[in-house]
Amino acid sequence: MANTRKLIQGNKACTMGAIKAGARFCASYPITPASEIGEYLSEDLPKVGGKFIQMEDEIASMGAVIGASVMGVKAITATSGAGFDLKQENIAYAAMTEIPVVIVDVQRSGPSTGGATVCAQGDLMQVKYGRSGDCPMIVLYPNSVKEIYKTTIRAFNLAEKYMSPVILLMDETIGHMRENIDLSEYENVEIINRKLPDVPPEEYKPYEPDAEGIVHLMPFGNKEGYRYVIQGMHHGADGMPNLSPATLQCSLDRINGKLDRHKEDIWEWEAVDLDDADIVVVAVGCVSRSATEAVHAMRKQGIKAGLFRPITLWPFPDEPLMKATEHAKAVIVPEMNMGQLVHKVKEYTRDCTQVIPLNVYDGTVIMPEQIEKVIKEVSEK
């Protein structure tokens, strides 16, 4: 068994997943702690006929990946918080125009330059709410090297399936961590490619959704004669600018509604010892690993603790969370920021459930003992 298991860095696993998913283009701009993703792809993409380019800034790299995707080539870019700020402009464009791309945000401590190599979870809200307008987003949040690989593939699959940008949110600690993983189980993993139009060019309306609410955008450069405009103004089925009230509403309903409608397919979460838990920890990313340890330790002491871990952060798995915390007397939310996830948890737990935040934002990761301490305090009440 031993020799097939390789030690792989989190950021490297992301690039391996991307290539496995069919990504053949990456444009990025250097920023710690995400730089390795561009570095690895600059080395590995040409080996499979793909291309990497280091653009002049974050804005350009976001634009370039969308440009590549418009041509039908799966594309990825990677950055960290301060660079993510700049990418937002064109991420919103991709959401509005329904172009599938994958954006990796390996978080570091912010705001601004903050701490380049300092682990933090400060972008949980930014990835969803940092753009103008009602901009929908799928955000996935793995917590191990193996899960990064798997989730990167899933990010591309969801992007192509729902014609949407997908953000892969990571923690510095997980991006830089090395774990030995066996990837053989993913050899035949399903790879999803965007649907192409099923009507001839003369009947084609690029932004007319199918019965599932999904648009079928024919890649530009096609030989079949499908010609249309992709643009970020509100548009009707023909893709042309249109600011009529009906079109506006329809346009926002379409880009948001498709994710809402398919949220159960998009949602992914992990439940640890939740069945009879009366104290539920809700944690994401690296913190959820400490929370897993804490829950196991508490169980050994007879305390009924459990963990609910959203792997899909957005759209927020509200119903699963409500179910998971139905019988909980308290919910603990450890996170490496000043309190972000906790707001969603409060929104989706019963009023009678006590929601206890545990915020660490000094750059140290939350350790199991810190979570155990809060669980014990609650259980003794």
């Binding site: 053949r24 283009f25 444009a27 040409p46 080996k47 006929g49 291309k51 380019i53 653009m55 002049e56 800034d57 804005i59 350009a60 790299s61 976001m62 634009g63 370039a64 990946v65 969308i66 440009g67 590549a68 995707s69 418009v70 041509m71 039908g72 080539v73 594309a75 402009e89 064109n90 464009y93 530009f220 450069g221 096609n222 030989k223 079949e224 004669g225 499908y226 010609r227 249309y228 405009v229 992709i230 643009q231 970020g232 103004m233 023909d238 042309m240 600018p241």
Partner: protein, 270 residues
Amino acid sequence: MSVHDYIKESAFPLFTCPGCTDGVVLNAFLRAYEKLGYDRSNTVLCCAIGCAGRTPTLLDFNVLRVTHGRAIAFATGVKLAKPDTKVIVFMGDGDSLAIGGNHFIHACRRNLDITAITFRNEIYGMTGGQYAPTTPAGGIATTSPYGMIEPSFDGCKLAIGSGATYVARGDVYNVNNLEKVIKGAMEHKGFSFVEVLTTCPTQFGRRNKMADPVKMINRIKDMTVPIEKAKTMSEDELAGKFPTGVFLDKEGIDLNTRYEELLARVQEQA
């Protein structure tokens, strides 16, 4: 094909103001495109925000209209993803030289094989007449009510200095030259740039005592001088003049060619 076949009549009536000359540039482009016999199935028009940025949406092409200033950045992805694509980028002067200046110079440096056309109307038209990096000295704009005090950009000099391999200027008065330089740009392998002097009677003209569109076009006529003639003129005579024609047309290895070489090298090693 006739030029009319390239126009999407469903997109009319025009969104442009009376007297706008953006259509003149579009016309010159289409005539050049038609003469070159290119195939729309591997052509992508990129553009962004503002009047110039919106014009290609009137054409029956695959059009990628993006965020302000970013058309060249998106075009870089388009061109790298599908190297056989003919990419033409339509931009305003604020679009290409202000907000998109960084992308512009780096595409020049990379010698990306695309054609970039800047509509130099000396003003931000769509947003209501604010000054551009091309607004002439003393020019009145909504954000330069006391007259423009900043020096203006020469798009051609910027392109030459940044590494573009084809650089030309045209204008909406001498349409024959305009069509010729756009045609030359599209035929060129490597980054080709055409700065086109256009007019905006509504936002620039009205504020600068040239509300009459014809008067504005006559101003262009007075402002321009063919490169050959410019070479015989003194610096004083050239003050305020814009030479037109082809400044630079040289061979250079474009980014995609370099990338194909890289791919061959890497795959040979593998």
